[in-house]
Each structure stands twice: as C-alpha cells, then as structure tokens.
C-alpha cells in the first residue's frame, strides 16, 4: 500500500480506501488452525456441515502459515510446544490476528502443572479470548465475528511499519 502511506491526512479518498480494504480483509479471513488437543476437535466441528465456517468467509483452513491471516490456537500449549507456536506465528505475514480458543490457552485452564504455559499471552499477542472447555462451535463462530468487527475498524496503513521478526536459522553442514 505505497500510495496510502503518502496520504497521511484523513480525507475522503483515504477513508473510502480504508473501508474497502477493511471489508475485503474481514470477509475472507483464512484461519490457520493450530490444533493441538481437544479444542481442535471442536474446531473441526466448526468446519463440518452443521456449523459451517465457510459461510463466514473462512473457506479454507490452510495448514501453511504463509497463506493465513488468523491463527486459532486450539489446545493446551506446553513449554515444549510454545517455541513451535511462536515460530509459526512469526512465519505468518502481516496483518495477522490470534484467537486464544478455550480455557487452556487463555489461562492454563484446568492444568495447573509444571509443563503447561498458564496463558499464551505470555509469548503471543492475543486478540480474542474464548471461554469454554471446549467452547461450543457456536462460540467459535462468535469469536470469528468479533475478529471481523475488529478488522472492520482498522485502517489500511496500520500494518506498515511493523518490524520483521528474527527467525533463528541453524546452519548445519
């Protein structure tokens, strides 16, 4: 969005472009299902014919992070898995949003033990927290609609100046 960056004031053209861009972003949110445990089954149930998620724009669940904009972290995140989740989050291109699905990701859930991260907001910025163990598919659709509301209020140039993440690459030969 190069031209956008030059027009700094809020004029008629910029707000219209913002509205169109926000509408196109919110109507085709492609989720990246980070399905780890039981909540992943409810996420699969949200995509099945009864609670169809495709009618809200999430037509495909791509398992590669390079093609998604929404990461749904579904399941208990342990310390060993946290590094993997963070790596995948870093690989997603901007703009991106995160839903913390279920009690385990929001706060550690019913697992108060040595290996479970007590809330993924310790290492990821989260946009919507979902309650439930597991949350019903209707609840996940509600979260998706809230993300769409959040996107409709963004401006196109909000994601310009984000710093690129550092990915550690091991050279082994």
């Amino acid at each position: 969005m190069g031209l956008e960056a030059k027009l700094k004031e809020e004029g008629f053209i910029t707000t219209t472009i913002d509205a169109v861009v926000a509408w196109s972003r919110e109507s085709s949110v492609w989720p990246m299902p980070m399905g780890i445990s039981c909540c992943a089954i409810e996420m699969m149930a949200t995509a099945d014919p009864k609670y169809d998620m495709a009618r809200f724009g999430s037509e495909v669940m791509r398992f590669t992070p390079r093609q998604c904009d929404l990461m749904i972290v579904a399941g208990t995140v342990t310390y060993k898995m946290a590094h993997v989740v963070r790596k995948i989050y870093d690989q997603m291109p901007d703009p991106k949003w995160v839903i913390a699905m279920g009690a385990c990701t929001s706060s550690g859930g019913m697992y108060r033990s040595y290996n479970v991260v007590q809330g993924i907001d310790q290492f990821l910025p989260v946009d919507v927290y979902l309650a439930g163990c597991p949350p019903r598919p209707d609840n996940l659709l509600n979260a998706l609609i809230q993300i769409q509301d959040k996107i409709s209020k963004t401006k196109a140039r909000d994601f310009q100046d984000r710093k690129l993440p550092e990915l550690t690459v091991l050279h082994n030969n």
């Binding site: 310390y79 060993k80 590094h83 790596k87 310790q122 290492f123």
Partner: protein
C-alpha cells in the same frame, strides 16, 4: 490347576535361591522379588510353555518417599493363552538407582522404561537408547518424584520472548 496356584509353585521350584512374596488382592496376583533376578524371571515367564506371558502391558515405578528402598519398579504382563494378568515388583534403593532392563525379553518395554527414567530417574542397564521421553532433553529434574513441586521449578523450562 489354575494359574494363581501354578505360578507360585513353579517359580519357587525353578528359582529356589530367590525370595518371593506373593499377594492376591482384589483378584490381582502380584509377585515381589529382588531386582537382580528380573531378567531371568521375566524370560522364564515368557518362554515357559505353561505360562507364555508374551504381552508386556506396562512398566512403571512408585516413589514411596522413605529412606530405605525408595522406589519400586512395577511390571504388568499378560498371557494371551490363559487371559491372565500378573504384576511383578522389584524394590530399588535411591543410593543405587539402577535396575536391569527387560528389553531383551519384550520390545515393548523400550519406551516404557524410557518414560520411567524420565519421570523417576531410575537408570536401566543395557537399555539400547535411554533418552528422555516427554520432557525436553536438557531438563534437569525428574518430575514424578515426590520432592518435585506440582507447579514446577521456575526457570527450568524456557519460554519464547514476546516482542
């Protein structure tokens, strides 16, 4: 003769130099012996044509949190021919926290012994590949011991940074 009487009789007759303790509680038969004889007793139970305990179901340990004989290693084995389950127990002291591995007898015990090593810190001699099972390789403690706190030790597991 049913197995509950046959097993003590045959074991005592074949391994007369070993001290056994038999217990029948709520329908389960358990056999307790010293840890040095584990491999030969297990091999006998598997290969004897009367018994044929070919399926090893479980290998685990109990931490009694007392000074002498702190751990007990417990094996559950099953005979498909007679549909009979047997429990074997061997005490392990904390000062010499090792026991012979039964991987030469049943291949199933490979991962189960690795899990016991990870959780309790009991080393298995002659194990082909003794690594940690669940915790990361550089974790320094053994979680299921009674002196490890439930919430873990802060700093023992690193987290990625939030920007």
């Amino acid at each position: 003769m049913n197995l509950k009487e046959l097993i003590p009789q045959k074991l005592q007759e074949k391994f007369s130099h070993v001290k056994f303790e038999f217990l029948d509680y709520r329908g389960d038969l358990s056999v307790k012996f010293e840890k040095e004889h584990v491999v030969e007793i297990c091999r006998f139970l598997k290969e004897d044509s009367d018994f044929q305990f070919k399926l090893c179901e479980d290998v685990t340990a109990i931490d009694w949190a007392k000074r002498k004989n702190r751990f007990t290693v417990v094996y559950h084995i099953f005979s498909l021919k007679h549909n009979f389950r047997l429990r074997l127990k061997a005490d392990v002291d904390e000062s010499d926290c090792t026991i012979d591995s039964v991987t030469p007898v049943w291949k199933t015990s490979n991962w189960l012994e690795r899990e016991t090593w990870d959780m309790y810190g009991i080393k298995f001699n002659n194990h082909p590949d003794l690594r940690r099972m669940y915790m990361p390789e550089d974790f320094q403690y053994h979680p299921l011991r009674k002196d490890f706190p439930l919430m873990g030790i802060p700093g023992s597991l690193p987290l990625p940074k939030k920007d």
